[in-house]
C-alpha cells in the first residue's frame, strides 16, 4: 500500500519537473554519464587492468605525456604571467593585435596547429633551420611535442592572470613604494603573492589541456614508442588494432587523471576567489 503511494508520488513529482530539467538531465546522461560509465565498466571488468595500465609502453607514454605537459605548462606559467603583465601595464604599438593573437590557440583547429608547428620547426623550416646548426631537433622529437603543448596551453595562463592584474588596486603597490620597497621587492613581495592563485589555475588548466591534446601533438611527433609516443596516441593505436579493452584501460587512467585535475582546478579557483573577498 505504502509502496504504491510512494511510486505514484514519485511519478507525480516526475511529471511536475519542468520540461527543461528533463531535457537537460536526459541530454547530460545520454552524452556524458552513460559514455563515462561505459568506459569505467569496460576498463574495470578487464582482468588484466593493472598489467595493461602499468605495461612498459604505457608507463613510458605517461612519462612522455605528463612530464612534457608539466614542463610546458610551467614554462607558460612564467612567460604567460610576463605576457599578461606587459599587456596590462605597458603600452606599445600594435598592442591590441598582440592581445587578440593570444586567443589564436583557442580558435585555430589543432591539426592546423600541428601542421604549421611541424613545418616551422622542421630542419628546413623558418625556426628549425636556425636551430639545426646547434644540433637541436624539434619536429618529430619529444621537444616538438613540448612546443605543441606550449602553443596549446599558453592562452590559459594569460587569460586567467590578465583580469586579476587589471583589477589589482594601485594603492597597494603605491604604499609599498612609499614605504621604501624597490621595484623588484614590490613585485615579488606584494604583487606576485596575490597573483599566485590565478597563475596556478592557469597552469593547471593548461596542463589538463596539454595532457589530453592529440591533434597537434600527433602530427608534430614521430609517435615512436618509448621515445615520443604520448598516452592519447597510445589509446588511438590500441583502437586501431581493435584492442578495445586495452584502449579502455589507458583511457580510464587518463580520465581519472583528468577528473583529479578538474578537482584541483576547482580548489585553486576557490582559493583565488577567497583572495578576492579579503
Amino acid at each position: 500500500m505504502t509502496a504504491v503511494s510512494s511510486t505514484t508520488n514519485s511519478r507525480i513529482k516526475f511529471y511536475k519537473l519542468p520540461w527543461n530539467w528533463i531535457a537537460t538531465g536526459g541530454y547530460l546522461s545520454f552524452m556524458l554519464l552513460i559514455p563515462t560509465i561505459a568506459l569505467f565498466l569496460r576498463a574495470g571488468t578487464d582482468k588484466n587492468f593493472w598489467a595493461v595500465a602499468t605495461s612498459p609502453i604505457a608507463l613510458s607514454a605517461y612519462d612522455v605525456t605528463f612530464v612534457t605537459a608539466l614542463i610546458a605548462s610551467l614554462f607558460n606559467g612564467v612567460f604567460g604571467t610576463l605576457i599578461a603583465w606587459v599587456l596590462v601595464r605597458y603600452d606599445f604599438p600594435l598592442k591590441r593585435l598582440v592581445d587578440a593573437a593570444i586567443d589564436i590557440p583557442f580558435a585555430l583547429p589543432t591539426s592546423v596547429a600541428g601542421l604549421t608547428i611541424a613545418t616551422v620547426y622542421s630542419p628546413n623550416g623558418w625556426i628549425g633551420s636556425l636551430l639545426t646548426p646547434f644540433g637541436i631537433k624539434v619536429a618529430f622529437t619529444r621537444l616538438g611535442v613540448g612546443v605543441a603543448m606550449v602553443f596549446i596551453s599558453l592562452s590559459f595562463v594569460v587569460r586567467t592572470v590578465q583580469p586579476v592584474l587589471q583589477e589589482m588596486p594601485k594603492e597597494v603597490e603605491e604604499s609599498a613604494w612609499s614605504l621604501g620597497a624597490s621595484k623588484s621587492q614590490t613585485f615579488f613581495l606584494v604583487i606576485l603573492p596575490s597573483l599566485l592563485p590565478a597563475i596556478f589555475t592557469g597552469v593547471a588548466l593548461g596542463f589538463a589541456r596539454a595532457v589530453g591534446e592529440y591533434g597537434s601533438t600527433v602530427i608534430v611527433a614521430s609517435n615512436v614508442p618509448f621515445k615520443d609516443l604520448i598516452a592519447p596516441v597510445l589509446v588511438f593505436q590500441r583502437l586501431e588494432q581493435f584492442d578495445y579493452s586495452g584502449a579502455a584501460v589507458i583511457g580510464c587512467v587518463m580520465l581519472i587523471i583528468s577528473l583529479i585535475m578538474l578537482l584541483i582546478i576547482n580548489l585553486l579557483q576557490a582559493w583565488g576567489s577567497k583572495y578576492d573577498d579579503r
Binding site: 537537460t24 552524452m31 563515462t36 598582440v98 586567443d103 589564436i104 623558418w126 589509446v235 583528468s258 578538474l262
Partner: protein
Amino acid sequence: MTIAKEKSTTERKPLPKVQIALIAMALIYIALVIFIPAINVFTQAFKNGFLPFFSNFADPDFRSAIQLTLLIALVSVPINTAFGLCAAWAIARNRFPGRALVISILDLPFSISPVVAGLMIMLLYGRQGWFGSFLERINLKIVFATPGIILATAFITLPFVAREVIPVLEEMGSEQEEAARTLGADDWQIFWRVTLPNIRWGLLYGVILTNARAMGEFGAVSVVSGNIAGKTQSLPLFVEQAYKQYQTQAAFSAAVLLGLLAVVTLIAKAIVEQKTQIKEVE
C-alpha cells in the same frame, strides 16, 4: 584630476630599459610560439600564388571534406545551442542540491582528452560496444559514419553555450521574467520577448565558440570517423592525411581555410566583446 595625477606618476616611475626588455621578451615568446606558426599557414598556402590553392578545389576528396565539415557544424551547433540554453536556464534559475556537481559534469568535455571522448563513443556504439549488436540488427551505422562524427563533435562542444549563458542569466536576475509572468505572458513569450533579448550577446558568444570547435575538432572525430577519404573525412582530418602523404600543398590549402575560420572567429569574438562592454558602460 586624480586620473591625470595617477597617470603622471605611472609615467614617471617605470624604468624604460626594464620595460623595453620585458616587452621584447614577451613579444619574442609570442612570435616563436604563436605568430610565426600562424603566419606560416598563410604563406605556405600561397607561396606558389593563388592557382595551386584554387586547383585543390578540383579534388573531390577536398570538396567532400569541406561539405562534411559544414554538415557537422550545421547539425551539432543547433543541437548544443538548444541544449545549452535549456541547461543554462535550469542551472541559473534554480538552487538545488548537487548544483555544483551538475556544473562540474557539464565541464567534463573540457578536461577529457578528445581521444578518450571518441573512445567512449566507440565503447557504446562500436561493433564490440554496448549497443553494437542492436545497431547492426536495425542496420544503423553510427561509428565510422556521419552520425558518430556528429555525436563526437556534440560531445566535445557541449559546454560552450551553457558556460557563456549561465553567468549572463544570473546577472540579469529573474525580476523581469516574473513581471512578464504576472502580466500574463506564457513561458514561450517570456523566453522570446524578455530573456532572449537580454542574453543575446552571451548566447552569440557561446555559439561562435561552439562553431569554431565543431568545425576544427580533430581528436574525437578521428577516433570515430575511420578517416575514409571522400566519405568520413572532415577538413581537419584531410589536413593530417595530406601532410602524412607528403601532399604539403593540399594540406596547407585545407589548413588555410581552417585558418580563415579562426580569423573570422576571433573577429566575431572581438565584436561581441566590444558590444557587451559598451552595454556594461551604459
